[in-house]
């Protein structure tokens, strides 16, 4: 006996369990990053005028712009991966999921250079409240990227993707849930980018 509505939608709600589950989880994530954004606002108000703008100028806008485009691309490739499954094209799915993983890796590599660049210039979270919230926000975001990558890897490699052979619909639903999570991670960056780098 299995819990129902894993693959078939429940009639009155029109939902499968994982769809509702991932959205509720994303709601909690909105509040998590919201807490940090609230901290940003509060700290900016509490800082001396112009202090945040001064420290923000230390950040590299070109690198972050590239990263923004990289993450948007990964979002597209992720949704294309899911669409490929729905079109029964498993090789295309693997290609797109692979591209998503690659983009995520590129994002992290660029972030790595950003961080080490800061450390090289003796700029740490402890240097100012701006840098503190910058490292914390992007750090937590980065941890979410890594988490997403681990799940993507699991669904890309045979260990996870073999479910496609026995339960294709269930597998597609799982990839859809992962996709929703990944788009959320992209969404957070869409706000992080202007707030931290441009304002």
């Amino acid at each position: 006996m299995e819990v129902p509505y894993i693959v078939k939608e429940r009639e009155d709600t029109g939902l499968i369990n994982s769809k509702l589950g991932i959205w509720v989880f994303l709601a909690s994530e909105i509040m998590l990053f919201g807490g940090l954004f609230s901290a940003y606002i509060f700290l900016r108000l509490a800082a001396a005028p112009g202090e945040f703008a001064h420290w923000s100028a230390e950040l590299s806008v070109p690198l972050a712009t590239v990263n923004t485009l990289v993450l948007i691309s990964s979002s597209v490739s992720m949704v294309m991966a899911w669409a490929s499954l729905k079109l029964n094209d498993f090789p295309k799915y693997r290609m797109y999921m692979g591209i998503t993983l690659l983009c995520a890796l590129i994002f992290l590599v660029i972030k790595y250079f950003e961080y080490t660049g800061k450390f090289h210039h003796d700029i740490y979270p402890s240097s100012s409240t701006f840098m503190a919230i910058y490292f914390t926000l992007t750090g937590l975001h980065g941890i979410h990227i890594i988490g997403g990558m681990i799940v993507m890897l699991y669904f890309w490699l045979p260990v996870g993707s073999k479910m496609w052979d026995s339960q294709p619909e269930h597998f597609a639903n799982r990839v859809e849930a992962l996709g929703l999570y990944w788009h959320f991670v992209d969404l957070v960056w869409i706000f992080l980018f202007p707030v931290l780098y441009l304002l």
Partner: protein, 101 residues
Amino acid sequence: MSSDHDISSIQDHIRVYLIVFGALAVLTIVTVIASYLEISTSEGIFLALIIASMKASLVAAYFMHLISERNTIIWILLLTVVFFFVMLFLPLISYTDQVHI
């Protein structure tokens, strides 16, 4: 599964995904250019957040399929957004409303 996802509708969706991708790339460039405009800080914040919200809405509506999503999900998200704004603005207002000795 549901009729939402038969082959031709998926292919239509793919067209939409690519259009949205283009829009997002353009809006990203716009965001960066806007940051170099000679406007006041509060105008800058307002503009940046408007553009970011547009990008976010595109991702949410089309990549995350919210535009055709069930009511249950929409209501949960609306509730969350309400509390999100409460959490963002009430402390801010408390701070500005503070008693200064």
